[in-house]
Symmetry: C2
Subunit: 245 residues, 2 copies
């Protein structure tokens, strides 16, 4: 039975971290919201689950994954669940928790990216919090982005199994998520990431390596890969972008 | 060998979610930063690990837990790791991922609580972002807090094993974390939580049940339990508090 991925249609968003793992593993999955209403899919199918008054342990928000009877929510949790099944996780239980810790740092980083354009309220328009967004984006580019990226670069360089991967000596879902982070930052902040490859050579090499993997390359060239846009997490608002220190 | 918990001294903060699980299980643990420098403990011991240029997979930030050679970081990850060992997690793998999903929703909620007083930059003083904090806290009280608490209340009421616990029919680490969330919200937002027990009866009963558990009650009465204060996540700033809708 194919996995069912539930996530908002029209954006890469947080769903993309799960899609990349499923695509790399050539796993059979249905992107439910992008399916057709007459087949029982589409956004209405997702909303029905989220609003269910009877279902046990409904998710708080997308993305979530259905595997048979099980509904698994939150990106890091979905990836920790899928990782061993897709052969994209380390073998030992301990190392799996290390991978999960790295993925949760990515989660935090992604939330901070989101908050650069929505520092006051996700329910309000960007235009209504633009001034505050400028202040938050400045702090993001000057302090937070270098702190997170410097951390991931350091962990790669200190990886006892070699600096080609963030953990272990073969591809994991964390590598795929880091690829997506680099993609997103380059889209949203072209000025702030102009010198990215010089400052973060390990991450830049990882990004290139992932992009060339056959399944990923095919996916990126397919219609299944949505383009970045200003409804997602990584948004290109020139007024929020500036050179990094 | 006792577990070693690494977290900032002087605040409950995110470390408290881990402490509550260790205390409930009467596990042997060392709160490293609260130990003495001459015993190789204290905050310096934590900083040494965080700044290590050789250690594999250093954590991005506290809290983290050392169990033998393994360093596990992020609250939800630590609790997922400890849960089965402390008998505070469901038995099946699937249900453990459900518990982890719930815990990650708590993580997101706690991050939003933090951002009520730091909407622009964690590196800056509250006083320097007070106006933005008021706007964000208003949105938190009017929209986000009811959305999260309403969600947890609904999940409890729809728990197929009974509405005394958020998952399963016995205490889990997620119950302990929800207790802490209720404690914290009542401390930080006495006005916004004035009608808490009426609006969220399941959560209020859960809070009371946890507070009465012998190990938790002993812990709360001990010196190991730090008081809430205005350096932690849950801060009592009267100007950010107002009646909930």
């Amino acid at each position: 039975m194919p996995y069912e991925l539930y996530y908002w249609d029209g954006i890469q968003g947080r769903g993309e971290f799960v899609r990349l793992a499923l695509e790399e593993a050539a796993a059979s999955y249905i992107d439910v919201c992008r399916g057709s209403h007459k087949d029982g899919m589409g956004t209405a199918a997702m909303m029905k689950l989220l609003k269910s008054k009877t279902e046990a342990h409904i998710p708080f928000a997308p993305p979530f994954l259905r595997d048979g009877d099980l509904l698994v929510s939150h990106v890091a949790n979905i990836l920790m669940y899928l990782g061993p099944k897709l052969r994209l996780a380390p073998d030992s239980e301990g190392q799996r928790h290390i991978a999960n810790g790295l993925q949760l740092t990515i989660t935090d980083f992604v939330a901070e990216v989101h908050d650069t354009h929505h520092p006051i309220a996700s329910s309000q328009y960007y235009e209504d919090q633009k001034q505050e967004a400028k202040a938050r984006a400045t702090d993001f580019i000057e302090n937070r982005m270098p702190k997170f990226l410097g951390y991931f670069e350091q962990v790669m360089q200190q990886n006892p199994s070699g600096s080609k991967h963030i953990i272990g000596d073969r591809l994991s879902y964390v590598d795929l998520s880091l690829f997506q982070v680099v993609e997103g930052l380059r889209y949203a902040f072209p000025n702030a990431t102009a010198r990215f490859a010089i400052t973060y050579p390990g991450l830049a090499a990882l990004h290139e390596m992932v992009a060339k993997r056959p399944h990923i390359a095919a996916y990126l060239g397919s219609e299944r890969r949505l383009a970045f846009n200003e409804d997602g997490i990584f948004r290109r608002y020139p007024e929020l972008d500036k050179e990094a220190p």
